[in-house]
């Protein structure tokens, strides 16, 4: 059941479509048939919007651009060039896809606010252009003969069939995307774009693919709209209401779900048509008010949409996997196999520097990381540790210096490429996909290494085993406690089979016993041969874990060496405890 709800296959989609058609078949009233057809159009638009904005989190106010292009392609081709919509529609879809790429490429450079505003402007610009071109009301001419060649059917039912087929295809595409590499990569970048890049996801490429697919589906909806209504106006094609309706249908029904937009459309469209037909005779603007109220209510009380609530009710606790009582405890550190530290240098940092404004955050930092060792980066708060990790990762570009890994200099490389080379990094703020399983959360990290989806899932399973969470595969990530989340985050990075593991404050905020578990896991990874660099504050834990320390203060390296030496080093003591401490200790 859960599978049909989350990622419906052809059978489930077909069943719904058939039920839909069955209902439509028995209705004689052409007006109600029209409502059914409208439902399919807006379900498609909702799916289109969802495929892009729902999964990536980049709110698009401008899907009317793709829709309108679909409409006008079909109409103008039919009107001016006598081209049948059977050809016009695919061309409309193509127009949508190309527009997606053209609009996406420049606009993706923008963030949040600016992105939404820019997307707003595109359809409105197109609106004015088409008005200027004189296409105020182009109409597809009625064809008496061979009407089916032009998709003009005597019986509305055939129109409905086409609509249902198109809608089903759109839903199917959405379903393929949802739990696949495509959907998961998008969801990862929605949660935290930096972290996604750090795990090796090429965010730019996926955003582009998403907007192209989205544009195509919207173009199809537009093309179909043209065939149904036979006339296009700039306002109905490119107007705000089209964009808003697509968005609201998806939001109301359920963002980031496959059935959501369909549910949304099935609920809102008939309702709005009903209002239009009754109250709308006396008062204008009912459709808009309904949509507006629907969305305000949704935002305040059920931000996830209607479908998730429906789903909860349908599943009613079935298919819930119970969480194991605890993670597999790693063997005590003393019992673990000794680490083999090679002489190969895995990472060599030389003269790394970075300034922000006038502030030198990292200043001429140099150190080496040897194969199989655990290196701890420590220092008082504000010493530049996280900045340094960001430099290693590629999130920030160093002003000077080299980071040699293998025979490459990592400075200036994009984060996802750094990850592809084998440098994995964890993040402090771990936000999982709460409604997906642990396995699905972890598999995102495997994509950088495995191009085959099955192999990726296998890698994810192995990673979970390495942290002791293999029993957690199907548990929903939303129910994990902080220890489990930390381990899952480590598993996610391990799924990419990194040569070098960068751990960023993995112990922060954990309690005593939890710290022991994480220490044991990290230590075991090291004894398996993993090379690890870790930033941490909890000194008492670090001292037992690491082979060597590098101490940073005010962006420079104060000291490096074995824990016993470093913690007695007067410079280090002074950095942590203050100059006067040392003076006092002399007495």
């Amino acid at each position: 059941m859960k599978k049909h709800l989350d990622t419906p296959g052809i059978k489930a989609i077909g069943a719904v479509a058939l039920a839909f058609l069955f209902a439509g078949f028995w209705i004689d009233d052409p007006y109600i048939k029209q409502i059914f057809i409208n439902v399919t159009i807006w379900a498609m638009m909702g799916v289109a919007w969802n495929v892009f904005s729902g999964y990536t989190g980049l709110v698009s106010f401008g899907h009317a651009a793709f829709f309108g292009l679909g409409v006008y392609t079909v109409v103008i081709l039919a009107l001016e060039y006598d081209v049948t919509p059977w050809i016009g529609m695919p061309l409309g879809i193509l127009a949508g896809v190309i527009a997606g790429a053209l609009i996406g490429l420049p606009t993706f450079r923008l963030r949040g606010v600016y992105f939404a505003l820019a997307m707003l402007a595109y359809p409105l610009t197109l609106l004015y252009i088409f008005e200027w071109l004189g296409y105020q009301e182009p109409t597809i001419p009625m064809k008496r003969e061979d009407s089916w060649m032009f998709m003009q059917f005597e019986n509305d039912f055939f129109m409905l069939v086409i609509g249902a087929v198109l809608m089903s295809v759109a839903v199917w595409i959405s379903s393929r995307i949802h739990a696949s590499r495509f959907g998961l990569s998008l969801s990862a970048l929605k949660q935290n774009e930096l972290a996604a890049e750090g795990v090796g996801i090429d965010t730019k490429a996926w955003k582009l693919r998403a907007i192209m697919v989205s544009g195509g589906i919207a173009g199809a909806a537009g093309g179909f709209y043209a065939i149904v209504f036979l006339v296009a106006t700039p306002n109905s094609a490119f107007g705000m209401l089209s964009s808003a309706q697509a968005m609201i249908v998806a939001l109301f029904g359920g963002v980031s779900t496959v059935w959501g937009p369909v549910v949304g459309s099935m609920m809102l469209i008939p309702l709005s048509e009903l209002f239009e037909a009754t109250i709308g005779h006396y008062l204008l603007g009912t459709r808009g008010i309904l949509l507006g109220v629907a969305i305000v209510v949704m935002m305040l009380y059920a931000q996830d949409g209607l479908f998730p609530k429906l789903r909860e009710w349908l599943l009613r606790g079935r298919d819930e996997v119970t969480k194991p009582s605890s993670v597999d405890a790693p063997p005590a550190m003393a019992d673990q196999a000794p680490r083999v530290i090679g002489s190969d240098v895995v990472l060599k940092v030389s003269g790394l520097s970075k300034s922000f404004g006038g502030l030198k955050a990292v200043s001429d930092v140099s150190f080496e990381v040897r194969q199989g060792e655990v290196l701890g980066i420590i220092g008082p708060n504000g010493a530049g540790k996280t900045t340094m990790f960001n430099l290693l990762n590629g999130f920030i570009r160093a002003d000077a210096g080299r980071v040699e890994y293998g025979n490459q200099n990592l400075v200036g490389m994009a984060p996802n490429r750094v990850c592809a080379l084998g440098v994995g990094r964890t993040f402090q703020v771990v936000r999982p996909f709460p409604r997906m399983s642990v396995l699905h959360n972890v598999v995102v990290g495997a994509y950088v290494r495995e191009s085959d989806d099955n192999a990726a899932f296998e890698a994810a399973r192995q990673a979970l085993a390495r942290v002791g969470m293999q029993a957690y595969e199907d548990v929903l990530a939303g129910g994990l406690n902080s220890l489990e989340l930390r381990l899952m985050e480590i598993a996610r990075v391990l799924a990419g089979q990194p040569k070098l593991l960068l751990l960023d404050e993995t112990l922060a905020g954990l309690g005593g016993e939890e710290v022991e578990v994480v220490l044991g896991v990290i230590s075991r990874l090291a004894s398996e041969g993993q090379t690890i660099v870790i930033i941490e504050h909890t000194m008492q834990a670090m001292v037992r874990l690491v082979d060597r320390f590098v101490v940073l203060d005010h962006g420079t390296v104060l000291a490096s060496g074995k824990p016993e030496e470093v913690t007695k080093n007067p410079l280090v003591v002074e950095a942590y405890l203050g100059k006067k401490w040392m003076e006092n200790a002399q007495h």
Partner: protein, 235 residues
């Protein structure tokens, strides 16, 4: 005057403060030291009311303030100088100081308080019309402390004033803090990572580690105690 009793707090799902008990008398200078992540900022946020506690009590002059909304707490006479200084970057130095003086009492003593602040930090007088966002770290810290003083507080809470500042500037800031302690009867609660500077001038100290009070005592006692060192350096 300020009494924190057995406070338990969680922040972002993690336990931040565990059974913390601290007392401050009027005019007293209390320092709280501890490594990063020990819960020091969470403590301040609890006093200011932006983080709510699970258990325990915070009392001001004998009355519990747990239910008081954050915006009203400065009325009590508590000034919070936040971690990282938190300037109003688009406002001038003078305007920042103005924002510190929200209470009626602070407004009526505006001129006198301003003189006092400018006396402590003369460079602010030179830069009074400069945008706070363009100041150096040390100058921003001075504005932050000045802002706190402008509210004519009974308790001045300073959250890691040395963070991100060069050692010489840090020394200067600590000297000024000592001056405030000597020249006025404002109680000071100082939270710091750098132990020695903090302990040097205070009347009483607490060592916070992983949300718990590991140690407390007079500065002399703490400076001699090896536990402090192990809290920071692990060995």
């Amino acid at each position: 005057m300020l009494s924190i009793k057995e406070l338990h707090t969680s922040y972002g799902g993690l336990k931040a403060l565990d059974n913390v008990t601290i007392k401050i008398e009027p005019g007293q200078f209390v320092a709280i030291v501890g490594p990063n992540g020990a819960g020091k900022t969470t403590l301040f946020k609890s006093i200011s009311g932006t983080v709510s506690a699970e258990r325990g009590d915070i009392q001001w002059q004998g009355q519990s303030i747990m239910a008081m909304p954050p915006a009203q707490r400065p009325e009590l006479g508590i000034a919070h100088v936040p971690e990282g200084r938190q300037m109003f970057r688009e406002l001038t130095v003078l305007e920042n100081l103005e924002m510190g003086a929200q209470t009626a009492e602070a407004k009526s003593n505006w001129t006198r308080n301003l003189d006092q602040v400018l006396g402590l930090f003369p460079v602010l007088g030179e830069r009074r019309n400069q945008l706070a966002g363009t100041l150096s770290g040390g100058e921003q810290q001075m504005v932050a402390i000045g802002r706190g003083l402008m509210s004519a507080p009974k308790l001045l809470m300073l959250d890691e004033p040395s963070m991100g500042l060069a050692p010489k500037i840090t020394d200067m800031i600590f000297e000024r803090i000592e001056e405030i302690h000597k020249e006025t009867d404002i109680a000071i609660l100082l939270v710091e990572q750098r132990v020695a500077e903090a302990l040097a001038s205070c009347d009483y100290g607490y060592v916070l580690q992983s949300g718990r009070i590991a140690l407390e005592g007079t500065p002399e006692a703490l400076m001699k105690d090896e536990t402090v060192r192990s809290v920071y350096l692990g060995l």
